[in-house]
């Protein structure tokens, strides 16, 4: 049994991280499918706006609640696309003192902007959803995809970062005038707000003040929750899996994520490298290229030139991966070749699965 096999059988949560275009979403789907095949109740959560998971699972569209995918496996397979805004809405309702407070917040324009667009909100909500799915107990395995940005792991700074926004100095500056405290000391602050209003427009500032006023009292609940989520993420039953392609830039991104995780005291449990070029025989690229040069102008020369091209790519790809492999050690590195076509059905996922879970047979 390889490490990935073990993870889909034993982990409670698997988080996939990596840059865009490396097949991260597909990988998350394959891991959850394998969980279902191993008899577990598995759910995959994606936040990829490209809806690629929907393609991969043959679903027409996902909603913020998991939908079940029927198939010939002993466990269960569920999938959902994270709706950042409605997850945030739910959270506001949950933490608000009464329905009126919730309503004041939900209808505020500033809130609407935060819940839809504040950088970091998506990551935060993904983790919130993960926590919810895990703690409600309907699933044995929750696989969660992260957004394809460098900020994907910013939630690891929880709760400092998650609540940074609410702790903000400007927040206090904006809030103080309405609290009417320490008027004299606030002359400077109010001048600041006035200038700010001149730049961005008074409406914007008014919206923000209304929001913070309505939100008042809910910060503690949010902070507490952020702490709990972070504890879950750093527990041994949560596994972080890095996904990369063998190009230099995506390897560098994966390396960035690996460092980021290690700074938070979290180990990478596996590195999956998609889109590997195949290796044809054992010859060295330079020697093959030399053969091609000697035989230039003939068919066999062209055949050698072609072989040299692919041997060069394969060698470069391995060079790119060398440092990262060392960094994530002892986590295994699992290689998936360039596939014939994009994955958009369960058979396609199963094919990727053969490379992930049964490299010998692939």
């Amino acid at each position: 049994m390889n490490e990935l096999d073990r993870l889909v059988r034993e982990a409670d949560i698997i988080v996939t991280a990596g840059s865009g275009g490396v097949g991260k979403t597909t990988t998350a789907a394959v891991l959850s499918l394998e969980g279902a095949r191993a008899g577990r109740r598995a759910v995959v959560v994606t936040i990829d706006p490209a809806k690629r998971l929907a393609d991969a699972l043959g679903l027409e569209g996902l909603t913020n609640t998991p939908s079940k995918i029927e198939g010939p496996w002993p466990g269960e397979l569920w999938a959902m696309m994270l709706d950042t805004k409605s997850t945030f809405d739910d959270l506001v309702v949950k933490h608000s003192a009464d329905p009126a407070q919730a309503e004041r917040i939900l209808s505020n324009r500033f809130y609407k902007n935060i819940s839809g667009a504040l950088s970091g909100t998506q990551e935060y909500m993904a983790m919130e959803k993960l926590y919810e799915l895990h703690s409600e107990g309907d699933f044995d395995l929750v696989v969660v995809d992260t957004p394809p940005t460098r900020h994907a792991l910013d939630f690891l700074d929880a709760p400092r970062r998650l609540t940074r926004f609410l702790d903000h100095r400007l927040y206090r500056i904006l809030m103080t005038p309405t609290r009417g405290l320490m008027k004299a000391a606030n002359v400077a602050a109010q001048a600041f707000v006035r200038t700010l209003s001149k730049v961005v427009g008074a409406e914007v500032i008014d919206d923000a003040i209304t929001f913070f006023t309505a939100f008042s009292g809910m910060e503690e609940g949010f902070k507490h929750r952020a702490n709990t989520v972070f504890e879950l993420l750093s527990s041994p039953s949560t596994a972080f899996v890095l996904v990369a392609s063998p190009r230099r830039d995506t390897v560098e991104e994966a390396d960035f994520f690996a460092r980021r995780l290690s700074e938070s005291g979290i180990a990478v449990r596996a590195l999956i490298v998609n889109r590997m070029h195949p290796r044809f025989g054992e010859g060295l690229p330079e020697a093959t290229r030399e053969r091609a040069r000697t035989l230039a102008g003939t068919d066999i020369g062209a055949l050698y030139a072609n072989l040299a091209d692919f041997r060069l790519v394969a060698a470069r790809e391995e060079e790119h991966l060398a440092g990262l492999t060392e960094r994530v050690a002892p986590a295994p590195v699992v290689r998936v070749p360039l596939l014939r076509s994009d994955v958009h059905d369960l058979d396609g996922l199963a094919e990727v699965g053969t490379y992930l879970f049964d490299p010998a047979a692939a």
Binding site: A117, H168, I300, N306, D309, F310, L312
Partner: protein
């Protein structure tokens, strides 16, 4: 089309595409191609750490402009410069230019920009685009190439001006948004070049993005760049053993299989790519510029040069295919 004419179509070219399709490489190759045509070129990076500078063998870009390629040389190329724009820097500069330098430092250092940006999303984008507009107006270079954020964000990024006109109805941000929108929708000033790989998902996303940008932003779309096409090689159909015999050479043990498998692989990938190229042409009526896959996966100045040549040839061919 004459490349000189091609690059004269608009002073600003925004290069956009899904992550991993080689947007940054294409931006750099475009810059090299334009510089070879004698146009001084400024590459603008907006997302930080795109690896653009390293393609030229340079340190990562900063807000201060640097020279990426000095130009001159035997081919008389113009200079290529580069800089990275961040919302914070753009804001400080903007406020300073508008007599508000006292507030600017505080706005950035207190992190208040984050809050303001949340109050009216798109403010960060408009700060950057506003700076781009200023550079475009000032004629700081013959050609500005903006390496845009990756796909989904590119649409939001370019839509920010329209969104802000609604959210902030008065004041400097409003007028900034108005100016930016004017630039984006003026086809003589700005065009967007979309980049894709000849693969299913990237092609699908490119088609979606193209229609979004045209309908919702109103921006002009230039040719689509299809990146990473395996160059064809004549002779791949030959049987290795027969071909070796014909050239009076012998193969080592197992080599025939490796040669055959590699040839099959390339033929197969080329066929798959061709399908996607044709599908793209059928779904999106825009001319295409094709760039070869670079087998030496470590891109540097020599590879950029190769890609720039390929671009210039492809631009030349645009003309012929239209006639």
């Amino acid at each position: 089309m004459d490349p000189a004419q091609f690059f004269a179509a608009s002073r600003l070219v925004i290069v956009a595409g899904k992550g991993g399709v080689g947007k940054t490489t294409v931006s750099a190759a475009l810059a090299c191609a334009a510089a070879r045509m004698g146009l001084s070129t400024l590459i603008i990076e907006v997302e930080g750490k795109s690896g653009l500078a390293s393609l030229f063998g340079n340190e990562p870009l900063t807000y201060e402009e640097v020279t990426l390629a000095p130009g001159g040389g035997p081919d008389g190329a113009a200079e290529i410069r580069g800089r990275a724009l961040t919302p914070d820097d753009a804001l400080v500069e903007y406020l300073r230019d508008h007599g508000l330098s006292r507030i600017s430092k505080r706005l950035v250092s207190s992190g208040a920009l984050d809050v303001v940006a949340t109050a009216a999303p798109g403010i960060k984008d408009i700060l950057i685009l506003g700076k781009v507009k200023q550079l475009e107006r000032a004629g700081t270079a013959d050609l500005l190439i903006l390496d845009a954020p990756a796909a989904g964000h590119a649409i939001t990024f370019l839509l920010s001006a329209r969104g802000l006109l609604d959210a902030v109805r008065v004041g400097p941000i409003n007028s900034q948004a108005r100016d930016v929108l004017e630039m984006l929708t003026d086809h003589a000033r700005c065009q967007v070049m979309l980049v894709t790989l000849p693969e299913e998902t990237p092609v699908n996303e490119l088609v979606d993005t193209a229609y979004h940008l045209e309908d919702r932003v109103g921006v002009a779309l230039g040719p689509v760049v299809v990146n990473g096409l395996y160059p064809t090689l004549a002779g791949l159909d030959a049987d290795p053993e027969a071909a070796a015999a014909a050239a009076s050479t012998t193969l080592r043990a197992g080599e025939a299989d490796a040669l055959r498998a590699a040839a099959d692989f390339r033929r197969h990938r080329i066929a798959l790519q061709q399908e996607q190229v044709e599908r793209l042409a059928a779904e999106l009526p825009l001319p295409q510029l094709h760039l070869p896959y670079v087998f030496n996966a470590d891109l540097g100045p020599p590879e950029l040069d190769e890609l720039a040549s390929a671009l210039l040839t492809a631009i030349d061919d645009l003309h012929e295919s239209r006639r």
